[in-house]
Each structure stands twice: as structure tokens, then as C-alpha cells.
């Protein structure tokens, strides 16, 4: 998504990323990975996540998928090579809620929900091309 920010902003939409972490942790993340071209806000108690219907994946299912990903090498590149980033990711896996799933919500300028996608699993992200199509259709 970071690479497609311009296309989204060209359609007149601001981007807000929400993470299941507190402000201090988000600060540590941007120190390790660099600034992002959009706001990253934290929902450490996951009230917005849960209130909006985001799922918590069962631990056994997530660990099973991770094991399959490791065996099939689909997880190659999951852990960054750069030490500072690698340390951050490993710390995340130990200290953060990695079971909560994400999603994408699109609102018009009156706060009306236009479209949303709630991820059913870690691989089930909204496709960025589909999202940009939604933005373009809304503006048409």
C-alpha cells in the first residue's frame, strides 16, 4: 500500500492506518522502519477492531498456517534481514496481539461507509487494485 499512496490520494482520499498497538510502540516502529506517508494510529485495547467486527484468529489455526508457510517457504522474507527491523518484528511476535485480523474501510466526506472488507485470515487482504476501483467509482 505504501507504494500506491499517490494513486489513493489522487482520488482525494486520506489514508489512516490503525494498528493494535499503543503510541509508544508505533513510535518505535517508525524509528526502525522510517516514517510512513500517512498517519498510523493505535488501538491498543482493540476496541475499534472488535467493535467493527474484526476477527481474532484461533492460535492453533495461525500457528498451523505459519508452520505450512515455513515448510513451503512461503514465509521467506517475512523476517527482515536488517537487524533493527528484524529485532522489531521478533519483539512484535512476542509482545503484540498477532491473532487479531485486519481490514479496510472506506468512508465518504460525510462519514458514510462506502465499502469495507474484513480479513478472514492473514492472506485475505483487500486487493489494492479493487480498493482503487472503489474510490474511482465513488468519484465518477
Amino acid at each position: 500500500m505504501r507504494k500506491r499512496v499517490n494513486e489513493i490520494e489522487k482520488e482525494g482520499f486520506q489514508i489512516i492506518a490503525i494498528a493494535p498497538s499503543n503510541a509508544t510502540y508505533i513510535g518505535q516502529f517508525t524509528e526502525a522502519f522510517g516514517e510512513f506517508p500517512f498517519v498510523i494510529a493505535g488501538d491498543p485495547k482493540r476496541e475499534a477492531y472488535r467493535g467493527m467486527g474484526h476477527h481474532t484468529m484461533p492460535k492453533w489455526k495461525l500457528l498451523g498456517q505459519a508452520a505450512i508457510g515455513f515448510i513451503t517457504r512461503k514465509m521467506d522474507g517475512f523476517i527482515p534481514k536488517e537487524q533493527k527491523k528484524k529485532d522489531f518484528v521478533l519483539k512484535s511476535m512476542k509482545t503484540q496481539d498477532v491473532y487479531i485480523q485486519g481490514g479496510t474501510w472506506i468512508y465518504d466526506d460525510s462519514g458514510k461507509l462506502i465499502w469495507h472488507h474484513i480479513d478472514q485470515s492473514p492472506e485475505d487482504h483487500a486487493k489494492i487494485d479493487s480498493v482503487i476501483d472503489v474510490l474511482k467509482k465513488h468519484n465518477a
Binding site: M1, I8, E11, G12, F13, Q14, I15, I16, A17, I18, A19, P20, S21, N22, A23, T24, Y25, I26, G27, F29, T30, A32, F33, V39, I40, A41, G42, D43, P44, E47, A48, Y49, G51, M52, H54, P80, K85, F88, V89, S92, Q96, D97, V98, I100, Q101, G102, G103, T104, W105, I106, Y107, D108, D109, S110, G111, K112, D119, P122, L135, H138
Partner: protein, 36 residues
């Protein structure tokens, strides 16, 4: 929009609600699984 009263934390800033964030702006809100 009234329902979006969840408090969000922002580094070096005061907390805001999701509703305040998207007020008067077309917005794409992405909930991520985790950072990193």
C-alpha cells in the same frame, strides 16, 4: 459515523476518535494485523 467513537492513540499527539479523523475527509482506514 456517530458510532466511530473509538479512541485512538497517535505518537506525540493527543488521542482522537475515528470519527474525528474522518470528519469532512474522504478516508481509507486500514486496520493492520501488526506492525513490522
Amino acid at each position: 459515523m456517530d458510532k466511530l467513537t473509538y479512541q485512538l492513540e497517535i505518537p506525540e499527539s493527543k488521542n482522537v476518535t475515528l470519527a474525528e479523523f474522518i470528519h469532512h475527509k474522504k478516508s481509507m482506514v486500514v486496520f493492520v494485523r501488526h506492525l513490522g
